[in-house]
């Protein structure tokens, strides 16, 4: 626009390009200035530490013993033969699988119910979403209180004549409890994403199905589900990536126990680094965590590119 206005009053093309170049230079300088803080942060707090953690993982580094010697792949060999690391991978797998299944199915069910637009829907949406804004540690503390052997949940179960277990101190219920606490904490977020997807399903399609004699159940599976499946996939991957980072819940509810039944990857990493001061070994665990998260996130980006058409 500027150049077309200028064109008439400008004597020669040489001056014009010079002027534009000057403006371009100013632009470029502003551009660099604007991205500098973020780039410094990336260099010092993201990429630098990432390189460092790979480097540390190749060292035998115990802060208490004061050792820091290059040891090659030793830490990684140790990982493979360390039963507690294998246990922590397994615990993480159980946690992630349990969480993604329960979270996604409950989120979808709640979204479908809210989408019926009954009176009071807004209130219920507020209820289902509210734990999302409660701080994770606070939510976990309250559930920890409820799940005590003589806590609220068992108190109410006793009223019904059921003898509830000591949820957080038994190997067979501890992980389930942690998963459930986490499901209710964040299911509201996925519910909202599903609700948006459901509302993107054209009404006419469902009405056409009804005219063709399909009942609500059938039209849900044949029409709604295929249309929202990209969202389901996306939400599932996001939930898995989030579940790999679970830490505070474990620290507050079970401290990794009983035994190592709830020692998930990040909790194991924390223990190795900040309880046993095994910085080198903990760094190897970090690298494994990074690889899992990075692969999943890249898969998620690819998925979005190919599948998601609700974005505007």
């Amino acid at each position: 626009m500027t150049s077309t206005i200028d064109a008439g009053s400008r004597p020669g093309p040489g001056r014009r390009t010079a002027r534009r170049r000057r403006a371009g230079l100013g632009d470029a300088l502003t551009g660099y200035a604007f991205v500098t803080p973020q780039l410094l942060g990336s260099a010092f707090f993201v990429i630098g530490p990432l390189i460092a953690v790979v480097w540390y993982s190749l060292h035998d580094w115990n802060v208490l013993a004061g050792t820091f010697t290059f040891s090659g792949a030793e830490n990684y060999e140790r990982l493979l033969s360390d039963p507690s690391f294998v246990d922590s991978l397994q615990a993480t797998g159980i946690f992630s699988a349990g969480l993604v299944v329960l979270n996604v199915s409950l989120a979808l069910a709640l979204a479908v119910m809210l989408n019926q637009r009954l009176p009071g829907t807004t209130t219920f949406r507020t209820f289902f979403f509210s734990p999302v804004v409660v701080s994770l540690v606070a939510w976990t503390i309250v559930w920890g209180f409820l799940l005590q052997a003589d806590g609220g949940i068992n108190g109410f179960l006793a009223e019904l004549g059921v003898d509830g277990p000591n949820w957080l101190r038994r190997e067979d219920t501890a992980m389930l409890s942690v998963v459930i606490v986490q499901v209710f904490k964040n299911v509201g977020l996925n519910m909202v994403l599903f609700l948006a997807a459901l509302q993107g399903v054209p009404r006419e399609l469902r009405e056409a199905a009804r005219v063709d004699g399909a009942n609500a159940w059938r039209s849900f599976w044949k029409i709604t589900m295929p249309l929202i499946s990209p969202t389901i996939l996306l939400v599932s991957i996001l939930t898995i990536v989030g579940s790999l980072q679970v830490f505070a819940q474990i620290a507050v509810l079970t401290q990794g126990g009983p035994g190592t039944s709830t020692t998930v990857l990040v909790y194991y990493l924390y223990q190795q680094a900040f309880e046993f001061k095994e910085f080198g070994y903990a760094s190897a665990v970090s690298v494994v965590l990074f690889l899992i998260v990075a692969v999943l996130t890249l898969v998620q980006w690819q998925t979005r590119k190919r599948w998601v058409f609700h974005e505007n």
């Binding site: 993201v46 530490p49 460092a52 409660v134 209180f145 620290a251």
Partner: protein, 306 residues
């Protein structure tokens, strides 16, 4: 999405009006009320695990220690007391910790909004050599959760002598990995900005920085609100970082402080812990109820755009 949810359900208003409509309509209406009542009951039951913990937290915080584990459980404190609230402030410098969390979250929020708006704008609208490569470099931050780099970050903070200060809790989130998502959301927003607006600014003789400050940034309010809300919540909820970087109680932030109400054997002093938790949770819930739309949208962004 919101408008549809907010609008009054039309079925409810009209259901009684045309009592003697056709037969099929009658049958449909006869079937539907039962379905709707069942659905309502299911929703009420489903709401229990979402609402009850908060209820239990608030009521238990007013119970004396003797009542808190009583069987059968009491839904309402029989002899309410403020004792636990007094102890919250006696056992720990709770007011100080509250302030720590508040001011850190506020500074991180303002800082992140500024940094991510500037970076997002530059990546979206300004053409300069290397812009794409630099953007990819920044995006790497989305692949790296803070847990992965916590060991080197600890070492760095330690080497700088900043352990047990609030610096790492402020600076790392503002320019490190946590702000990358904010930058990404800002960039997505600025990409949609019509070029004519900027051209108008150029005609008026504004520099690039001027265009950003006076035109683009003020227009970015929806994106800014989303970034502000999820950044605030992220900082307010931080747990691993304060656990690793802080050591003295007067420097603690709330999530860490909440876990410290324990007796000599490490067992939680429940009523005090729940009182402190109530003080932490209720203000946020209050703001959420008032600004629900912004919260839902802001937090959903972390899912959608991440």
């Amino acid at each position: 999405m919101r408008t549809e949810l907010a609008s009054p359900p039309d079925d409810a208003a009209t259901s009684g009006a045309d009592a003697d409509a056709g037969r099929s309509g009658e049958r449909r209406r006869r079937r539907r009320p039962i379905g709707r009542i069942v659905l309502l009951v299911v929703m009420i039951v489903a709401a229990v695990p979402f609402v009850f913990p908060t209820w239990w937290m608030v009521t238990s915080s007013f119970k004396p220690m003797s009542e808190i584990m009583r069987l059968p459980p009491t839904l309402w404190p029989t002899s309410p007391t403020f004792d636990a609230y007094g102890q919250v402030f006696e056992l720990q410098p709770f007011a100080q910790q509250y302030w720590n969390s508040l001011y850190i979250a506020a500074v991180v929020t303002v800082g992140t909004v500024l940094v991510s708006a500037m970076a997002g704008y530059a990546f979206a609208r300004v053409r300069f050599p290397g812009v794409n490569v630099l953007f990819i470099v920044v995006l790497v931050g989305m692949l790296i959760p803070i847990e992965v780099t916590i060991v080197p970050l600890f070492r760095m903070v330690n080497a700088l002598g900043l352990i047990d200060t609030h610096w790492p809790l402020i600076v790392i989130p503002i320019i490190g990995a946590p702000s990358v998502l904010a930058t990404f959301i800002m960039r997505q927003f600025f990409l949609t900005l019509p070029a004519e607006l900027e051209d108008a600014g150029k005609v008026d003789g504004l520099t690039r920085a001027g265009i950003f400050w006076r035109i683009a940034f003020p227009l970015a309010r929806p994106a800014t609100a989303a970034v502000a809300i999820f950044t605030f919540m992220q900082s307010w909820n931080m747990f691993l970082e304060p656990l690793v970087f802080l050591s003295s109680k007067e420097n603690f932030t709330l999530p860490l402080a909440l876990t410290q109400y324990v007796d000599a054997y490490g067992g939680p002093i429940w009523n005090v812990q729940l009182a402190a938790t109530t003080l932490t949770v209720l203000p946020v819930l209050g703001v959420f109820v008032l600004a629900q739309r912004q919260f839902v949208e802001g937090l959903a962004q972390t899912g959608l755009k991440g």
